[in-house]
């Protein structure tokens, strides 16, 4: 597979070098080389991820013109605004509902794909993964057009069945439903593919043993499949919770937070205030509210990773 040309001169040179430098010097050089190889990564993460994260905290304590330190005033101001509480409520509803449905749908679809004979699986998997492949900004435009109030294809179809036109993005609760629906459409394939990978790693013998012991379909699911998939379910759900909580594209394009700020989530509201309203400190304060949930999810994911690292 890999051919390393035989280089007699090089071997000789290396062996003399090793004799001269000694083991300690080589180890020292090795860690130095390794550090240099990782240096661009360290610089990138330090300058463009860690520093801005802390800088956001600093920004959140400044006044609107960013000249005066105001402590927690931005946060206190937010707590007094009704819109803020709407955003908190909607962010939680949006993230939790979407993740639960994505996980359920992904689990169910993964089982169906797994049931199908191996030959046809590729085709189904390919079709079902398409929503995840299209850039969400592009596919949300298609949804926006499907939801269009006057020419919408959905309302036309509903009209055929005699159901009245639905104000998909015009009415607060329908708009909330719409953004969640689009998020489920976009994110369910990710769960499907993760769960499918997990299902494939469950040894077939376990199911055969269970059938011989007289286990029914439900018992096999509960006592064989779920315990074997537990790790992947946990990590995928936590990961998706972070991504969904921090979602921007779908809400921004579909409703832009409307009607009357009812579908704003932290990211879109922070954009509205910080970039469009040019109140950078207040925008930074809003986006910082995502930190606690990210932190909690990250701790759980990390614990899971370390646990599995110790097992293997």
């Amino acid at each position: 597979m890999v051919d390393i040309p035989y280089q007699p001169g090089r071997v000789a040179a290396a062996s003399t070098r090793r004799r001269r430098g000694g083991l300690a010097a080589m180890m020292k050089r090795k860690s130095m080389v390794a550090f240099l190889m990782a240096l661009p990564l360290i610089v990138l993460i330090g300058v463009l991820v860690i520093y801005p994260a802390f800088y956001a905290v600093h920004l959140a304590t400044l006044n609107k013109s960013m000249q005066r330190f105001v402590g927690f005033d931005n946060f206190l101001f937010l707590f007094k605004r009704d819109t803020f509480w709407l955003v908190v409520q909607q962010s939680c509803i949006f993230a939790i509902t979407a993740v639960v449905f994505k996980a359920l749908l992904g689990f169910i679809v993964a089982h169906f794909v797994h049931n199908v004979p191996a030959k046809g699986q590729r085709k189904w998997r390919g079709m079902l993964l398409v929503p995840w492949v299209i850039p969400p900004a592009m596919s949300t435009l298609a949804w926006l057009w499907l939801f269009d109030p006057s020419y919408s294809a959905f309302n036309y179809t509903l009209g055929l069945f005699g159901a009245g036109p639905i104000p998909w993005t015009g009415d607060a609760s329908w708009a909330r439903f719409s953004v969640i629906l689009v998020n489920i459409w976009y994110g369910a394939p990710f769960f499907m593919i993760m769960y499918l990978a997990a299902l494939k790693s469950v040894p077939e013998q376990l199911y055969e043993a269970a059938s011989i012991d007289g286990a029914n379909w439900w018992q096999k699911l509960w006592y064989v499949t779920l315990p074997m998939m537990r790790n992947i379910i946990a990590i995928t759900t936590l990961f998706s919770l972070i991504v969904t909580f921090a979602n921007f594209d779908i809400v921004r394009i579909l409703t832009a937070g409307g009607p009357l700020d009812h579908t704003h989530i932290f990211a879109t509201w922070a954009f509205r205030i910080g970039i469009e309203g040019s109140d950078i400190p207040l925008g930074a304060s809003v986006s910082l509210f995502m930190l606690p949930i990210l932190g909690v999810a990250a701790i759980f994911i990390l614990r899971d990773i370390n646990k599995r690292g110790n097992e293997s």
Binding site: L128, P135, S139
Partner: protein, 304 residues
């Protein structure tokens, strides 16, 4: 236990006592196909509707005919978009940004992953975990401080980075590098230690070990990471929305949304055509390299 494991799959069918099992299986298969069809329709409606609308003239779109069918197909929308300078600029910007970001990402993350997977140094384990944690920090948390940082940098140095498409080359790697490094640490760690030990004993330098052994052996992982980096930078919407405003600096998703939607007038035929053309590169890559893409997708959350 051992005796139950040796029964082969065909056994229940031969045994009349288990006759119901194969019937159950056939029944389950039928239902699987039924539900899979429903889910596939649900998945494919928006992209198909993009295609249907893109083939319609604006008269047909505003006519109250069946929206699910094209009665007078026309390529007018495609011709208009593909001959408009604006759209070609967006496409060009997107392509430039994505190609450069993929290159930068690979140049940073392949050596870093190699160093973290094989060559321990002080703090390397912490750094590996840190890389994964950075991957969890979303763009929606960082866009405001980054915007302020680049604005301050522009005031201080006189180098204006905001509203230039190449500012995205600096920012996108924060999204792609942590993930690509993370999955490549996994791939590199799965390569047998004997391979690189042999190479080192034969006198190869660490750099040669990386380029002659690790990169060829871990090529599937590197392809997966490349596809991932490309799709992420092609699809990114928030950063270009924040950092670029002039029409000639926009990338595709932002360009379509800001220039084709004028006020309340939606030119749906062209918007859908633009969206479909914008979705085409990832879809084409995915059609040919689906297995690599899925490998990259699953490696991210399962490895480690």
């Amino acid at each position: 236990m051992a005796s139950t494991l040796t029964i082969d799959k065909a056994a229940p069918r031969r045994n009349p006592g288990y006759g119901s099992m194969s019937r159950d299986r056939a029944w389950a298969l039928k239902w699987s196909y039924f539900f899979l069809t429903i889910f596939a329709i649900f998945s494919l409606v928006p992209p198909l509707y993009m295609l249907i609308t893109s083939l319609k003239s604006s008269q047909e779109i505003s006519a109250a005919t069946n929206p699910w069918w094209v009665f007078h197909p026309t390529l007018g929308n495609y011709i208009q978009l593909l001959t408009s300078n604006q759209f070609l600029t967006f496409f060009f910007n997107s392509a430039m940004v994505s190609i450069f970001v993929v290159t930068i990402t690979m140049l940073i993350s392949v050596p870093a992953a190699f160093a973290l997977a094989r060559m321990r140094f002080w703090g390397s384990a912490t750094l590996a975990t840190g890389v994964f944690l950075t991957y969890l920090i979303p763009d929606t948390l960082l866009f405001i401080p980054l915007f302020k940082m680049f604005a301050t940098f522009g005031d201080w140095s006189g180098i204006q980075l905001i509203n230039r498409w190449y500012v995205l080359l600096i920012i996108y790697p924060t999204l792609t590098v942590p993930f690509c490094t993370w999955i490549m640490i996994g791939y590199f760690a799965s390569i047998p230690k004997e391979l690189d030990e042999a190479a080192i004993i034969d006198g190869a330098s660490w750099f040669q070990t990386l380029t002659r052994i690790f990169i060829p052996v871990a090529l599937p992982g590197i392809i997966a990471a490349t596809i991932f980096a490309f799709t992420v930078s092609w699809a990114q919407f928030l950063y270009p929305l924040v950092f670029t405003t002039s029409t000639d600096q926009l990338v595709l998703p932002v360009g379509i949304i800001t220039t084709l939607i004028k006020g309340d007038v939606f030119n749906w035929g062209q918007i859908m055509t633009g969206a479909l053309l914008g979705a085409a590169p990832p879809l084409i890559i995915y059609a040919f390299l689906m297995d690599y893409y899925i490998a990259g997708l699953t490696a991210g959350a399962t490895k480690g």
